[in-house]
Symmetry: C2
Subunit: 540 residues, 2 copies
């Protein structure tokens, strides 16, 4: 059976080698990939039942988009050549009995939930990973998703999800949200169900504004709030507005979340990395880089730097805002996980210090679930027209569905959102404590950072004792986080190397970014043992 | 009291004249507008209780964005200077009793529904009007929306909504949708609530594909379906993909829906108008214009040309597809109201004739309500990667919320969508019959077109008898539809001039586009009497 680590370690006689060899040929990549798979299957090198590598692994190995792989897989599943039984890897299909092919084609539209385990991979999430987190478990074996598209979500599960950026999917407030939806639907006027302003339904904007004033000390009128489909949507709009206004560069933290950088780049802004230390972004280096490039806008995570975890110090806050005023600039505050803060008192939003200079991005993707598709931006007065202009260019209804907006308004106004945040905070705090204890036990000597808030920590493996406590204080200075990630994948543990978030990835890193948002409490110990095994395997 | 027609007819001594005079001054337009209003209020020219013109009317008169007006109004409402009592025009506020100001500020986040009558205007809808339909009624007087943003939705109501593009907001299937949402939420796996592929949840794509195959004879695999937030969202994505692929022009029907043209233009495609006749778009002229401009893509409404109502003939369909194959082009089919067809047998989607050349755009905005924010595109295989690439550039989750996708999947799979379409079809057919009878009675001689399908008709007033049947067969050849629209606005009837949809509006038109989707059955007679009064006033 092919294992994902076979891809990375370059073992011979694996499907990975066969496919990699095809890369330089002509034709669309997907078709070449399909042809390669078909050839290998026809030749018998890939026998019926053989598991293919997860799409992410294969995509990484080939240096291509994961979509090419999932589309190729999906197409071959649609033809019955591959088999996408959920809860398991994609495999070369066994010969299909005559009757079975028809029943597969007739599987029909698929009940969302009964398709147990047919949950898609996290492809395309606004994950801090910038790529593709893979929360995974709870799969019922033996059920089969509808044909054709199944491969988009069948593989790439990890038993233990230690990737950052995914909230606790076991505790999505389904009932409370449904109640809010019911009330919103019952009470909405006919007009509420008609078309709405592009910035969002006024009642929903007012509700979000009220919440942000109370919970994040955000300042501004209700109409400063623009509803979005999430932080990346907001980033996409302000980046386009900046670009329209003549901006060519965007200062970003290094390391930082790749997805927002990518969105800014797609809108025409060149990201300019600025280093981060224990006080957050370096305002000194920010000034240097701004002067060098002419950049007058910066994207940062003041409350809990992603991924390193620093809080932007008071001095730096003042310096940053002074700079923004000097250059007539804009500060974009990604307030991605500030609701979850454990040890210290809450860190108010930077926005409250200067509503004219700070645009805040927020969403429910990290607090409720990405499935709600709703977020917000708080826009300084001077940028509102530009943001609106960009928004309507993409169609007259750029934001989330009105029904969802009204549901959110109810959910917030009834206190359900605050209750959920409190419960989640307690849950994450407890899990964090268990994680820190387990890390201390399994990886003694590892330096753990960024623990004050959020749903992830950094784990520097360099000082970790060798197995059996053999390090003698030397630790494992040569440990390679990338190798640990690969060994983790082989053990069904999703891990992320810090390098993923670096503007120019260093040759090697000893740091993992370990998320615990979607880690099952009951399996935390097991996950950490697997992590330790991966570390040991990578340094053996 | 200021009336909206005062704006258009240029009466002196009205707020309109005062405000128009201010246009060339310095400063941001909104601030100048606020200053002008404040000055007029301070001087007593605008006395307490005076009604201001609806924001659209004022914006049109000043040649500025309606947003500038609504923002200025909203700001002054926030200050208590204007009063936005719903169900009525925005007025200069009466002096506020001491206690009242506080209670207004404390109004809080506003319950979506109990804010009865606080429904926003249709600003930003994907209306065929390309601007702002104004469905309106059912307002409870005396309630007050939250301050600040209220002006975005308070004015601009019409008692009778004869604008096209708005479905029957009185019959949104609230209960059935909520049931589907409940089932979807109950059955979704944790994974379903995690991040999803940018093209949409596979189960929802499969459900939509099944529906389209059955209802629209669409051809293609499930993964040809990409879920969008509506037709304009889909148009925005394919337009950007076309632009990326080197397309510079897009052939469009003339007249046609402005919103989709605008979205295409914003994505970098220059719309190239092609005339329409009783067989739909002229394929002869299409070839000429394509050759002249190099355009290889066309956007059209084959099932029910918007707004003229023709069905694209079989010959034209064949010619169009032959052209598309010759030039390696793309046909974009806006299937906006094909579900509602009354007299003849259903017109299948053009897409089914050549799934490699036709991209279909559809949505629930015209079948359910714009509040659902969900639509789809069926993408030819060769365009899928490009559409996906454009999509993810705007953020990793470009489509509708996953919960809404799962709800739609349930709604479709359970047959609720088909039931709703059947009921709506019956309702619209009955209303259409009543409308045609009333038109015949109130405006005898008017030529009514496009009646076979959809939720609107065209009404050519040129042949209409003069009041009292005085025309003697001459009719009213000089009637100006724009004047009728203005007179309609003065009578609280929302009307639309055909010129709104023309690429280069003619100097004058005698044709109205009359929507009946959101026209209250019980008030249809009254609406048509008001329409006749407007026509009479405009030709007096």
């Amino acid at each position: 059976m092919l294992r994902s680590n076979a891809m990375a370690t370059g073992q011979t006689n694996s499907a990975a080698d066969v496919l990699i060899a095809l890369a330089p040929g002509p034709g669309a990549l997907r078709h070449r990939l399909e042809a390669a798979l078909l050839e290998d299957i026809a030749s018998g090198r890939l026998a019926p039942g053989t598991a293919l590598p997860p799409s992410r692994t294969l995509a990484d190995a080939l240096g291509i988009s994961r979509w090419v792989v999932t589309e190729a897989y999906g197409h071959l599943v649609g033809k019955g050549i591959l088999d996408a039984r959920t809860g398991s890897a994609t495999r070369v299909a066994a010969p299909v009995p005559d009757g079975a092919a028809g029943s597969r084609a007739d599987a029909g539209p698929g009940r969302p939930g009964r398709r147990a385990g047919g949950g898609p991979t996290a492809q395309g999430s606004r994950s801090p990973s910038g790529t593709l987190p893979t929360p995974g478990e709870g799969l019922l074996p033996g059920t089969r998703p509808p044909s054709g598209t199944s491969l988009e979500h069948a593989p790439d599960r990890a038993t233990h999800d230690l990737a950052p950026g995914v909230p606790d999917l076991r505790h999505v407030p389904r009932e409370a949200w449904l109640r809010a939806a019911r009330d919103a639907l019952a009470e909405a006027t006919n007009q509420d169900l008609g078309a709405q302003p592009p910035a969002g339904h006024p009642a929903a904007r007012a509700a979000v504004a009220t919440h942000l004033r109370r919970a994040r000390m955000v300042s501004g009128p209700d109409d400063a709030v623009v509803l979005t489909r999430g932080a990346a949507d907001g980033m996409s709009r302000i980046a386009a507005a900046l670009s329209d206004a003549g901006h060519t560069h965007l200062l970003v933290e290094d390391p930082s979340w790749a997805a927002l950088r990518d969105v800014a780049r797609a809108a025409g802004l060149t990201p300019v990395p600025v280093p981060v230390d224990d006080d957050g972004i370096s305002t000194e280096r920010l000034r240097t880089e701004a002067a060098r490039t002419g950049a007058r806008a910066v994207l940062l995570t003041p409350a809990h730097q992603f991924p390193l975890g620093a809080v932007l110090s008071d001095d730096r806050r003042a310096e940053l805002l002074a700079w923004a005023r000097e250059v007539d600039g804009l500060v974009i505050e990604d307030d991605y996980d500030a609701d979850f803060r454990y040890d210290r008192r809450p860190v108010p939003a930077l926005q409250g210090l200067d509503p004219d200079r700070v645009l805040l991005l927020g969403s429910t993707s990290k607090t409720l679930s990405p499935a709600f598709g709703i977020g917000w931006m708080v826009v300084p007065q001077r940028w509102r027209a530009a943001v609106l202009d960009v928004s309507v260019r993409r169609g007259p209804t750029p934001g989330p569905a009105t029904l969802d907006q009204l549901t959110l308004a109810r959910f917030v106004a009834d206190g359900a959102y605050a209750r959920h945040l409190r419960a989640a905070r307690t849950r994450y705090a407890r899990r964090r404590a268990a994680l820190l204890a387990a890390l201390d036990r399994e990886l003694p000597g590892a330096r753990v950072g960024g623990i004050a808030a959020g749903m992830h920590v950094t784990v520097d493996l360099a000082g970790t004792d060798l197995p059996g406590g053999e390090s003698g204080g030397v630790g494992r200075p040569d440990v390679d986080a990338a190798a640990v990630v690969r060994e983790g994948a082989a053990r069904d543990v999703a891990l992320v190397d810090l390098r993923r978030y670096q503007a120019a990835p260093s040759a090697r890193s000893t740091v993992l970014v370990v998320g615990y948002g979607n880690l099952a409490d009951a399996r935390l110990e097991e996950a950490l043992r697997s992590l330790r095994a991966a570390v040991d395997a990578a340094t053996r």
